[in-house]
């Protein structure tokens, strides 16, 4: 099943609001890792969420800074895995 990237971005923004301190609304290209909003340990939780929510498997090799740097980048990864 193809995953709609608009849906992914909406759920991602919600997840960030719920899990990241400070209750922030972030833009799609906001540098999540560079600005310290998403730590590498937070990412482990996020992966669990993405795998359950969208029924995908993220390869160990794909959990990189490049793939998780922004909401848009994460949505891109999810779409690639879901297609």
């Amino acid at each position: 099943m193809a995953v709609d990237s608009i849906d992914v971005m909406t759920s991602l923004r919600q997840w960030i609001r719920d899990h990241v301190p400070g209750n922030r609304a972030v833009a799609d290209d906001y540098p999540l890792i560079e600005n310290g909003l998403l730590t590498s340990l937070d990412t482990l939780e996020l992966i669990l969420f993405l795998e359950q929510e969208f029924g995908i498997t993220i390869d160990d090799e794909d959990v990189t800074e490049e793939n998780f740097r922004s909401v848009r980048a994460i949505a891109g990864l999810v779409s690639r895995r879901g297609l």
Binding site: P21, T39, S40, L44, D59, D60, E61, V63, T64
Partner: protein
């Protein structure tokens, strides 16, 4: 064969250049630098430091991402006879200004964008990296690091430096007050490299992954052991599991050093590690807190050919003990036996050696006992004391380090960590004083009273809890406090939990009653 002197930090580089100048010293984002390249850059930067008036004993800050340039800067400061102060790149301007002022830094290495965030006139001389210079207001004079590395003089500037001279200041927290600068001599740093490389058996064919920051004593040690042995240091910029995995595989890493929060990130790649074991990884070391048992079990299972060393220590005396790979079954509280060339005593309150299995304070004697805290005489005297067990045969003034950690020693000589004597919080491999957290929260202007403390946490050692009395109790105040803390401090300083109260209990003398507050709120 030549006999090599090992007195100063820069001797470690000079020796490796002399032995094998074409060996790869540093790999930074796929660029390989030979020992001769590093030495040339260090000479150019040393000459530039001297030219800009940096004198013996002056403190020079490096507020840089981990990079080849940062390493060259550290070694150049050493060669110029000055004292390097590595500032964690995670720190925000608020904490950086504190360090600059505390130890009187007038010369600072930093990326141009970091300099731009500092107050005008923060330092006299700024050595900037990157291609675009920062605005001139941050310093009286600016110098471009890329320019110096490309065109700088390669004349050998040599100043007299003794092993007993100060080499570095490492900022770390105690149980009270703001962070303190632990002053290390060249002897301290070199002995740390000698001690660790001897028990890990580090050799020149090792490829060491540098994950930890150089502002942390154990992070600096990966650099100094690599230099000492003529090994290769691979700089790791990302802690994301996939990036770690790629470095471990692509560079055939043989040594990996970490702190507890690193291990779940490595274990995230369990599937891949099972399919393709890391056959090159000879040893893995942990410092900065205990590794939760379930992670340790997983690491042993997934890395059957890797030797796992658990280290214990504190910046005031570098490393004190280690648990060798064959003793891992002694349980998570066992911190092993003293590192080489080091004596560990377990003393009671009257300074007497404790009997077997009796709890006392860990006291460290050896060549890694630091010189003291910068500018803090009383605190220095409290921690760095004359040894009560010194020989009375002559006027022995050797100082030992009182750790503040409570331990016991079993009949076999193994030491076990029991707890802290005070309120120091150990979280994610960092030492944090409750007052540092409270100071950050007070600066929001949103609270009347605040008390913070650590609560035991399986994953990160302790998690920080803050109990606050807000000025105006409205919805979302805790979130706003947390957002402010994230903007103005490193993430490890930000409380995981912020609880609201109407008033904090006080002691008879009117201070907040930390014990009572902790008891009442610790379940948060």
């Amino acid at each position: 064969m030549n006999a090599y002197p090992e007195f100063t930090v820069h001797d470690l580089l000079a020796n490796s250049v002399d032995r094998d100048p074409d060996r790869i010293a540093i790999i930074d984002r796929d660029t390989r630098y030979r020992y001769r390249d590093l030495a040339r850059c260090v000479s150019a930067l040393t000459a530039a430091l001297v030219e800009h008036g940096v004198g013996r004993g002056d403190r020079v800050g490096t507020y840089l991402e981990k990079s080849f340039e940062a390493i060259a800067a550290i070694l150049a400061v050493s060669q110029a006879g000055a004292v390097f102060v590595n500032i964690n790149p995670l720190l925000k301007p608020r904490q950086v200004h504190y360090i600059l002022k505390d130890c009187g830094i007038q010369t600072l290495f930093a990326e141009a964008n970091r300099l731009a965030a500092l107050e005008p006139g923060a330092v006299k001389v700024a050595f900037f990296t990157g291609n675009i210079p920062p605005s001139a207001s941050v310093a009286t004079s600016l110098a471009s690091v890329p320019e110096i590395l490309q065109h700088g003089s390669d004349s050998q500037v040599s100043r007299p430096v003794l092993e007993t001279d100060p080499a570095a200041i490492i900022y770390t927290s105690g149980s009270t007050g703001p962070p303190k600068g632990v002053v290390l001599s060249h002897r301290n740093v070199v002995a740390g490299a000698q001690i660790v490389s001897s028990y890990l058996g580090t050799a020149n064919d090792d490829r060491i992954l540098s994950v930890l920051p150089f502002s942390f004593d154990y992070g600096l040690n990966q650099l100094t052991t690599a230099l000492r042995m003529g090994a290769t240091l691979v700089l790791q910029h990302s802690r994301m599991p996939g990036d770690l995995l790629r470095s471990l595989r692509d560079y055939e890493i043989t040594q990996l050093a970490g702190v507890p929060p690193l291990w779940p990130l490595v274990l995230q790649s369990a599937r891949s590690l099972e399919e393709r074991p890391l056959i090159h990884l000879r040893c893995l070391t942990n410092s900065g807190g205990r590794v939760p048992s379930r992670y340790l079990e997983e690491l042993r299972r997934l890395l059957p050919s890797t030797r796992i060393y658990l280290m214990y220590g504190l910046t005031e005396a570098f490393r004190s003990t280690y648990l060798p790979p064959e003793e891992l079954d002694r349980g998570p509280d066992c911190i092993g036996k003293p590192v080489p060339n080091t004596e560990i005593r377990v003393l009671d309150e009257s300074g007497q050696e404790c009997d077997t299995d009796v709890i006392g304070e860990l006291v460290h004697r050896g060549p890694t006992v630091a010189l003291g805290y910068w500018g803090k005489e009383a605190e220095t005297r409290a921690v760095f004391r004359l040894a009560p067990f010194a020989s009375p045969a002559f006027d022995n003034r050797e100082r030992v380090a009182y750790s503040g950690d409570l331990v016991r020693r079993d009949a076999g000589g193994f030491l076990y960590f029991v707890g802290r004597r005070d309120g120091l919080i150990k979280t994610q491999g960092y030492r944090v004083s409750p007052e540092e957290v409270e100071d950050l929260i007070v600066s929001t202007g949103m609270v009347r009273e605040v008390c913070s403390f650590g609560v035991a946490d399986q994953e990160i050692g302790e998690r920080i809890v803050a109990v606050v009395v807000p000025r105006y109790s409205d919805e979302g105040v805790a979130d706003r406090i947390r957002a402010f803390c994230l903007e103005n401090g490193p993430s490890y300083l930000v409380p995981r939990v912020i609880l609201l109260a109407h008033e904090l209990p006080k002691t008879p003398s009117g201070k907040i009653d930390r014990e009572m507050i902790k008891d009442a709120f610790a379940t948060g």
